[in-house]
């Protein structure tokens, strides 16, 4: 299995080449196979939206038809043939075999982003396995390739960067919370009250570094987007004492955990039968899980 880099950016090829969930049906009996019949839910909506816009005079006035994805990340959406090459495509690998549920990733994240205690951008869920056992499952934002949270925002406050990160522009967010409704991973957190006090930051609040949070807007895991260009790994990855979390780059096909262990991404995922969470939702998440305790991530939200 030697997937070439561009393949990763296409939802279809990523699945077929990398997701053993697809390659190994015995692991998830009854789980719907990831399918890409050419028109996903989001793309369908986008097309309907674009069509409606086309016939609508509202499209006049220079309004970008689909500012949600088209302008923020030109061509970054799954399946788009002509895409500008970004030098990174960020992803994450979570090796559940070693997660002991200490929640230090959550703590590190909250400390760095000055979050309230219930704003668990990376949340460690305690899941029940098929055999009645429990296991721990950290859940960051899945950085979906086809994120349902993006097209529903009325003011285009959500966008996807060409490095594959879904971010929230909190300066623009008006707080309708429809993205919280849309996200199948419950990965979005609202600032219901004033955000936790944060010291003065060296630079302004940006979608990449949303510190401090803005009252009345939605926040979520950003993969510590502001730190990545500086070659630093996200706080949760660095904070995990078990080396469970890996930050990966599909472009260069490497991933690294908090111990500094560098792995060859495609090899690692293939060797360990990595799966994605709720793959059948058509979101094409960019977070892979390595199972090991007989866990079952569930093909659908309720299967656990």
């Amino acid at each position: 299995m030697e997937p070439t880099a561009p393949e990763y950016r296409s939802g279809t090829s990523t699945h077929s080449s990398l997701s053993p969930g697809a390659a190994n049906p015995s692991r998830h009996p009854g789980a719907p196979r990831p399918h890409d019949n050419g028109l996903s839910r989001r793309r369908f909506l986008k097309r309907v939206g674009a069509g409606a816009a086309g016939v609508s005079i509202l499209a006049a006035g220079g309004a970008d038809l689909l500012p949600s994805s088209a302008s923020a990340a030109p061509g970054a959406g799954a399946g788009s043939p002509a895409k500008p090459k970004a030098s990174h495509q960020w992803c994450m690998v979570i090796d559940l075999r070693y997660c002991d549920g200490c929640k230090q990733c959550t703590a590190a994240c909250q400390k760095a982003h000055y979050l309230h205690e219930d704003q668990t951008w990376i949340r460690v869920f305690t899941m029940e396995g098929e055999s009645g056992n429990t296991y721990h499952m950290p859940r960051p934002c899945m950085m979906c390739e086809d994120p349902p949270c993006v097209p529903v925002c009325p003011v285009s406050a959500n966008f996807r960067t060409d490095e594959g990160l879904t971010l929230v522009n909190q300066q623009r967010c008006i707080g309708t919370r429809i993205c919280m409704n849309a996200c199948p991973y419950q990965a979005r957190y609202f600032n219901w009250t004033s955000p936790a006090p944060a010291p003065r930051q060296p630079f302004a609040q940006t979608p990449e570094w949303p510190v401090p949070q803005v009252k009345g807007t939605v926040g979520k895991c950003v993969f510590c987007a502001a730190m990545l260009p500086a070659g630093k790994i996200p706080e949760c990855v660095a904070g995990c004492p078990m080396g469970v979390l890996y930050l990966g780059d599909l472009e260069s096909d490497v991933a690294v955990n908090g111990f500094g262990n560098v792995i060859k991404l495609s090899q690692f995922l293939a060797d360990n039968d990595a799966v994605k969470f709720k793959e059948d939702y058509g979101t094409h998440p960019r977070v892979w899980y390595i199972l090991g305790h007989g866990q079952d991530l569930g093909s659908d939200s309720e299967a656990s």
């Binding site: 909506l45 970008d64 600032n191």
Partner: protein
């Protein structure tokens, strides 16, 4: 109407007087007097009610200021209950506006002549409730100060259901305003050209209203051509407003169903919303009609029959809604997918069983019974049914919004996962009966006083705005009543008018017809001015003739219209001839 026409039939004296005035429309002064009654001097009770409602509204605004200061968390929201009361309010209040507009539109399009005394109240209800519903966007938003972004095209995301919601509702508001405005044009002209109308208005208010009326009816002089144009425009708006209202509620439901949540991702949701809106809309029209009927003593024009007919409409819609609810829960419950089945279980037998079964009884079964049983099929019965429906359907909206929004999407065994599917209230985020805000908990949502106060305030704002609106504009459409009366009168006979406007064989018309003395006594006073508006008494009796003459030039068109309408038939000649 009843009285007027019977007045015509019974008391020749009155009739003669009127006809001598040269006006082809017999019941005019009587109708006008009743329709304009609301504009008269406000009584004590009016002030008491308006002040009380005003205080409640102000309390709601204060509550919102608290929320603004403390954030939406103060309204009981949290990440596991991101949508709750305000979203239910949005749906419910925009929903009730549907009724007024569509009832009026459907009745217009089907040319149901019994609509005549109801259309104004129905349209006003739509006009008033829609902006109130739209205002719920403000407490709903986390950052209401950025609401302008919704009208800033560069920020628009045209694939967002919320944006289309906003477009649809705004368009609908415009249509509702037009729908209210159009029938008003000939009306204000009639009112203003009448006997010193608006009655019992003195000083500044009189001049203000007169100015307003003059502005609204500026270029109206009631010619045949103008009438045709107006009718055409009204027909067009009536046709347009129905799909528009359907789209508003459908798009509203898309905001919920663009999700993967059990209970939101439902194909039935748009239909569900549309029917619920109609259902509650008819209910609020009934409440408004009954209230203003009583307040302004319009029993003669708005009879039991009218209310019961609206009640039938409501019953049909209620039955459809019940059916849709049944379908949805049956199929979801049967589906076997844990999410949907668990969600249905939660509603029907789990955490939300009380509100759900409350809906079932109060807005499902009881209204149908009240309409089905002849003994309760009256004004009181319909009013009780409507009030029950309005409240229980609000609760039902909460049942639609809250359980689905609080459903955990990532199941975890220890905190909540297993518990939910087994139907036991999970202990996540501390949901004992008294929650974060000290309010009552609904799963992970905790009612606090703030959303309750805002909801109550919005409810109070409806009668408040209606009362103020009817201080300015006539509570019934004078011209429509007259037109129907005229049309029916020409086509059928005097009794026909009675039948159509008061509704078949209600007890009163019979009494009118037989005892000619009674109607004279009853209809005399308002006509001749001893009834209300003390200052008008003198004016009225002589102006009874005056208006006709003063209107004569303006009404020429109407006169000519009435003859073609009559097709030079017997009726036309009779009345016209009498007039000559």
């Amino acid at each position: 109407m009843t009285s007027t026409t019977t007045t015509g039939a019974g008391t020749a004296a009155t009739q003669g007087e009127q006809r001598q005035a040269g006006d082809p429309i017999v019941p005019r002064p009587d109708i006008r007097q009743a329709a304009l009654r609301s504009i008269g001097k406000s009584g004590r009770s009016w002030w008491v009610i308006v002040t009380t409602l005003g205080v409640i509204v102000v309390a709601g605004v204060v509550a919102w200021i608290f929320q603004l200061r403390d954030g939406l968390g103060a309204a009981g929201y949290n990440d596991r209950a991101f949508w709750a009361v305000y979203e239910a309010d949005l749906v419910a209040f925009i929903g009730v506006s549907y009724g007024g507009a569509v009832v009026s539109a459907i009745l217009r399009l089907t040319k149901a002549s019994w609509r005549a005394p109801l259309t104004r109240i129905a349209e006003a209800t739509a006009l008033v409730t829609l902006p109130i519903g739209m205002l719920f966007i403000i407490p709903h938003l986390g950052s209401p100060e950025k609401i302008w972004e919704l009208v800033w095209p560069p920020y628009w995301n045209l694939s967002s259901p919320i944006l289309w919601d906003f477009f649809a509702v705004s368009t609908y508001l415009l249509a509702t305003a037009v729908f209210f405005y159009l029938p008003l044009i000939p009306d204000v002209k009639v009112a203003i050209s009448g006997d010193g109308v608006p009655p019992a208005c003195a000083g500044l208010r009189y001049r203000l209203i007169r100015w307003l009326y003059a502005t609204v009816g500026r270029s109206w002089d009631g010619t045949t051509g103008q009438r045709r144009i107006l009718h055409g425009a009204l027909g067009l708006v009536a046709i347009m407003i129905i799909p528009m209202a359907v789209s508003v509620h459908s798009v509203l439901s898309f905001a919920f169903s663009s999700s993967s949540r059990a209970g939101y991702l439902e194909t039935i949701l748009p239909v569900y919303f549309v029917i619920a809106a109609l259902y509650t809309g008819v209910a609020i029209v009934i409440v408004a009609v009954v209230a203003f009927r009583r307040a302004y003593r319009l029993e003669r024009w708005i009879t039991k029959r009218h209310v019961v007919r609206l009640g039938f409409m409501m019953a049909a819609l209620g039955a459809i809604y019940l059916y849709l609810t049944f379908t949805e829960y049956l199929i979801d419950g049967y589906s076997g997918t844990a999410g949907n089945a668990a969600w249905v279980h939660q509603i029907v037998a789990g955490r939300y069983w009380i509100p759900f079964w409350f809906y079932f009884v109060a807005a499902g079964v009881v209204p149908l019974l009240l309409i089905a049983i002849p003994r309760t099929r009256n004004v009181k019965g319909m009013t009780v049914a409507s009030v029950l429906i309005l409240f229980a359907m609000w609760v039902k909206r909460l049942v639609i919004v809250v359980p689905a929004a609080t459903e955990p999407l990532v199941r975890s065994a220890i905190t909540h996962g297993g518990a939910v599917s087994s139907g036991v209230a999970p202990a996540s985020q501390g949901s004992p009966a008294l929650g974060i805000g000290g309010g009552v908990a609904w799963g992970t949502y905790h009612f606090t006083w703030i959303p309750i106060a805002i909801t109550v305030a919005a409810t109070a704002a409806i009668p408040l705005l209606l009362m103020i609106l009817f201080k300015i504009f006539p509570v019934m459409s004078v011209t429509e009543l007259e037109e129907v009366a005229q049309l029916e009168g020409l086509e059928v006979d005097v009794d026909g008018v009675v039948r159509v406007l008061s509704g078949a064989t209600s007890e009163r018309p019979r009494a009118w017809r037989t005892g000619s003395g009674v109607p004279a006594a009853r209809s005399g006073p308002p006509l001749h001015g001893s009834g209300s508006g003390a200052g008008l008494k003198r004016g009225r009796s002589d102006k009874q003739l005056q208006p006709e003459s003063s209107r004569a030039p303006a009404r020429e068109g109407a006169g000519t219209l009435s003859s073609p309408d009559a097709g030079s038939g017997a009726g036309g000649t009779t009345i016209g001839g009498d007039g000559e």
